[in-house]
């Protein structure tokens, strides 16, 4: 019939549930445990907050020159997270578009099958 299921799809559906239930606020530690394909932009913001706190603590160490290096690292991390955010958002949009396309094709197939069945009998 439809061929093997892509593992991606199941993950996708789970992440939707996650978004609806837990979304917003929260500690954010959970985001690190997630599969990359289940990440939402909200998770990226939580990760951002946690990393920011750790970098901030590190930047307060009294070692000479450390603060400046931590600050440079901090803005590298911002850039990386901005990329991650863009990828995650883009991925969600692309997956949603593909899902809509698939559903409409499936409806079309079902419709044609029903018609074919009627014509055959």
């Amino acid at each position: 019939r439809l061929g093997p299921e892509l593992p991606l799809r199941e993950g996708e559906e789970e992440s939707e549930e996650e978004e609806g239930g837990g979304g917003g606020g929260g500690g954010g530690e959970g985001a690190f445990a997630k599969s990359a394909f289940q990440l939402t932009a909200e998770d990226v913001y939580d990760i951002s907050y946690l990393l920011g706190r750790e970098l901030h603590a590190l930047g307060r160490e009294p070692r000479a020159g450390l603060a400046a290096r931590v600050a440079r690292l901090q803005f590298r991390v911002v850039s990386v997270l901005e990329m991650l955010e863009a990828l995650v958002s883009e991925h969600c949009v692309a997956a949603e578009a593909l899902r809509l396309e698939r559903d409409s094709l499936r409806r079309e197939v079902d419709g044609l099958r029903a018609q074919g069945g009627r014509a055959g009998s």
């Binding site: 929260g26 913001y45 990393l51 920011g52 803005f75 911002v78 997270l81 901005e82």
Partner: protein, 392 residues
């Protein structure tokens, strides 16, 4: 051959063309999401960027540019709060950033009183040409206004949960004498079959607290918000107790004390025991105790009078009048007992007030909270869309 480029030494200022000022306000204030990669990683970033722009205008000795930027900033914040003022996240975000901007104006004012915790590099970053004390006053008034808005927003969210979660929902089984409400669900959800529970309230408190932390709100300010939230919970609960006969029983007293202990546990968990929040629950705690103590002999009356020092005579008498026994072990409070209490309380000059003012807002303060952040290290993240700013 790769020649390593020596990194330019920045002075921690940001330059922009005058005609870009509306774009700056639009991208940094009006269109900025309170949750995002850059602002989550570096809480207060918009305030630091604004201050670095002020520094460059000060450095140019351009009083017109300074005035224009500060006016646009304040108007921008007012505008976004008018538009999205019912959203807790937005209001919390701009309260935090307005305070941070105010702290920056103090920390780098050049006034000695504000320079105690500065590094020598930070001291080099002080404003040199203009005294912005008058603008600090305007910003401080703005922050007060935003704080009051924040309290109104969280009050609107908490209000519908309080009576249901603190009084009506049964958290302890088998003491009420009323029919048991079935098995308690292990998993807590905001609305338990459509009604709010104590868990809903705690979850809401968690959400408020974590948002404020993520915005880098001053710890002293978070304490004041939490105290205000607890006051609202206590006042609304007590007022309902004083208005409803079915809420004045021994078992409701038990229920309230249990709920209060959970709220205290939350404070302990969040390290907020010194916020003054617990103290605002005192009238409610005493009313709950009043529901539970013996109410017969002269000694009982004396004990009540010395215990209930946070309740007015009117409130004590009201609770005793409403008191309704729910099972065979309890008795009605006699008229003579209530008269004894009134006699004893006669020379206590307290207000005839019955209901608490649930809309009362404690006056807020913004203690100076300097930052260790080094302005010369700040870069402008691409996601803010501020490519037209130049680091100086």
């Amino acid at each position: 051959v790769n020649i390593p480029r020596k990194e330019k030494d920045f002075q921690g200022m940001l330059e922009y063309k005058k005609e870009d000022e509306p774009k700056l306000v639009k991208n940094l204030i009006l269109d900025l999401k309170p949750r995002g990669v850059a602002v989550n990683l570096i809480p207060g970033l918009p305030a630091y960027i604004l201050f670095m722009c002020v520094r460059h205008a000060d450095y140019l000795n351009d009083d017109q540019k300074v005035r224009s930027l500060l006016t646009s900033t304040i108007n921008g914040i007012k505008k976004i709060l008018k538009k999205r003022g019912d959203d807790f996240e937005t209001v919390s975000f701009w309260l935090s950033n307005t305070c941070r901007f105010l702290h920056c104006l103090k920390q780098y004012s050049g006034e000695e009183g504000f320079m105690k915790h500065n590094t020598s590099r930070q001291n080099e970053h002080c404003l040199t040409n203009f005294d912005l004390a008058e603008y600090r006053q305007v910003l401080s008034d703005l922050a007060i206004q935003i704080y009051q808005q924040l309290v109104r927003v969280l009050e609107n969210i908490l209000q519908p949960m309080i009576v249901s979660g603190m009084l009506e929902h049964e958290t302890i089984q088998g003491v009420s004498g009323v029919k048991p409400t079935g098995l308690r669900k292990r998993t807590s959800s905001i609305a338990d079959e459509g009604t709010y529970t104590l868990d809903s309230i705690i979850r809401q408190l968690n959400a408020f607290h974590s948002t404020m932390c993520q915005h880098g709100m001053d710890p002293e300010l978070i304490k004041q918000v939490v105290k205000q939230m607890f006051y609202i919970i206590g006042a609304v609960t007590l007022n309902n107790l004083l208005l409803r006969k079915d809420m004045c029983s021994w078992s409701k007293g038990m229920q309230i004390r249990y709920n209060v202990s959970q709220l205290e546990e939350w404070l302990r968990d969040k390290n907020l025991m010194n916020s003054g929040a617990k103290e605002t629950l005192e009238p409610l705690i005493q009313a709950a105790q009043l529901l539970q103590v013996k109410k017969k002999t002269d000694e009982d009356a004396e004990a009540i009078c010395s215990m209930c020092n946070s309740l007015t005579t009117a409130q004590i008498v009201k609770v005793l009048n409403l008191y309704t026994p729910v099972n065979e072990f309890e008795e009605r409070v006699s008229v003579s007992f209530i008269r004894t209490i009134q006699m004893r309380m006669r020379d206590r000059k307290d207000s005839p007030q019955l209901l608490m003012d649930a809309k009362h807002i404690f006056p807020v303060t913004f203690p100076f909270n300097p930052s260790s952040l080094a302005l010369e290290t700040i870069q402008i993240p691409a996601s803010l869309g501020l490519g037209f700013l130049t680091r100086v």
